[in-house]
């Protein structure tokens, strides 16, 4: 069973996957608790615009994905705070808008091919050395932010106004949180794929919430579920030659269903 680690591509995929599992579940906890789960889907589609530009223009698609996802996250926050629009409507508009732009860029550039397919659904074969480096650099910065401000982010998730009246810099931290989520999503599309990363952000936390335990325990359970799903999903992907995003998502959904049943009997 361990022979798969003899392949360098599997080593890279595992390093990237484990990093992403940690980042997606930690940031996902705050997103879910704030009833903001849909932002992960929208940012994933925005990241796809970056991938499209990268593929067509010959830049590093992962870097482009990070840049476009951050720009999209800022645009969402700007629209949310400056106009009287429902935030779920903003997310829906940007989601389809991004996908439309990505498809047009890819069509015009003639890049509809396997490479694009791997960005949609994830591929353990495609993780390069430079991808791993990008994931480690941006991922470490994101992780540092999440760990430093976890108490404040938790407070904001609990009650934004009370947090504000307690002197927490709510606006600034919200802005940083969506930025970090954008980065994490963009980094994840190599392994999980842009159509499936939302699930890895949201489902481990929703599954962990079923156990009705305190903040720290919920985070740890969510982290464990995400790690398990990514590792197990990548192994399935290796043995059955399936897109890794799909196997990871099915693994995490299975965990969710089990959690739901054992806690709601």
């Amino acid at each position: 069973m361990l022979e798969m680690f003899e392949y360098e591509f599997m080593q890279r995929a595992f390093i990237a996957g484990i990093f992403i599992a940690i980042l997606a579940s930690l940031s996902g906890t705050f997103i879910v608790l704030r009833r903001y789960s849909l932002i992960s889907e929208t940012l994933a589609h925005s990241a796809l615009v970056g991938v499209a530009v990268g593929l067509v223009a010959g830049y590093n698609p992962l870097w482009m994905a990070v840049i476009v996802a951050i720009a999209s996250a800022w645009l969402i926050e700007y629209l949310r705070s400056s106009f009287a629009l429902y935030s779920d409507a903003i997310l829906a508009i940007l989601l389809s808008g991004s996908l439309a732009v990505a498809v047009i860029i890819v069509s015009l550039g003639g890049a509809f091919n396997n490479s694009l397919f791997s960005y949609l659904f994830g591929s353990i074969l495609s993780v390069s050395d430079s991808d791993v480096m990008t994931i480690i650099i941006f991922g470490s910065l994101s992780l540092l932010f999440l760990l430093l401000f976890s108490k404040e982010l938790y407070f904001i998730a609990y009650d934004e106004e009370v947090a504000k009246t307690s002197g927490v810099k709510v606006k600034f931290l919200n802005f940083l949180l969506v930025t970090v989520v954008a980065i994490i999503i963009a980094l994840s599309i190599r392994v999980v794929g842009s159509l499936l990363i939302g699930a890895l952000m949201v489902i481990p936390t929703v599954a962990a919430l079923q156990y009705r335990v305190g903040f720290r325990a919920t985070m740890l359970i969510s982290l464990f579920f995400a790690l398990f799903s990514v590792v197990f999903g990548m192994m399935l992907s290796y043995y059955f030659s399936l897109p890794s995003g799909a196997t990871i998502v099915l693994a995490v959904i299975t965990i969710f269903i089990i959690s739901l049943f054992i806690n709601n009997k």
């Binding site: 608790l33 430093l148 108490k151 404040e152 938790y154 407070f155 609990y158 009650d159 106004e161 009370v162 947090a163 504000k164 009246t165 307690s166 002197g167 927490v168 962990a208 919430l209 009705r212 335990v213 305190g214 903040f215 720290r216 325990a217 919920t218």
Partner: protein, 256 residues
Amino acid sequence: MQLKFKVPIFDIKNLSFIVRGQTILQHITFQIFHGEYIAIIGPNGGGKTTLIRMLLGLEKPTSGEIRIFGKRLKDFKEWHKIGYVPQRASHVDANFPATVEDIVKMGRIAKRNLFAVMSQEDKAMVHDAMVKMDILDLKDKMVGTLSGGQRQRVMIARALASSPEILILDEPNTGVDVKSQQRFYKLLAKLNKEEGITILFITHDIGVIADDIGRLFTINQKATICNNPKEVLSCEEMSELYGIEAHLIHNHRHEH
């Protein structure tokens, strides 16, 4: 009333709040001093909550000035001195992953430094607040499983953990049974008398607490300030503004 300091905690001058041409509050002027125990009453939609939200910087007044501890609101940084318990406090989302202790610990966040974990002092303050609110035995319980009265005490413990000089509560008794309400008012009176914490709260059941409070503000677009709530019926404008409620108070007082 003993005034420990000359600088008022809140100094409100000529405050008005107008939304889309509709006047919610106009020309509100008052001061709140250290050690006071003040109740705010008034009809629904009269602007009570808006007023409190302006004091906390959550709404911007259309005109007028707010000073907190002598500073202008935008220059005020010591938010840990103010403990706020919002109206919806007792209706926490039942699935929110928080133990009682998790919530009370939030009260220490305003004072913490970056990188700092909970210090011994933080832990002591959290413990102290739970003891004062009599919720220490609930500390590992999930807030979603508590009764309305218990949750209310958790929310106040969170506010107390930052060692505030003033507690501001918005209809703290919504969704709380009568027995817990009485216990709650005793706790508030105790915090005010023994800890010297200034208390400002919105309520609609003034009768229960009329004996403890120092001043009564009636808010209905304008503010009417009643310095002796025991003679609440003689506050002429108040009966005018709030006739029915004044009658209720009258009945309550006979029962006691």
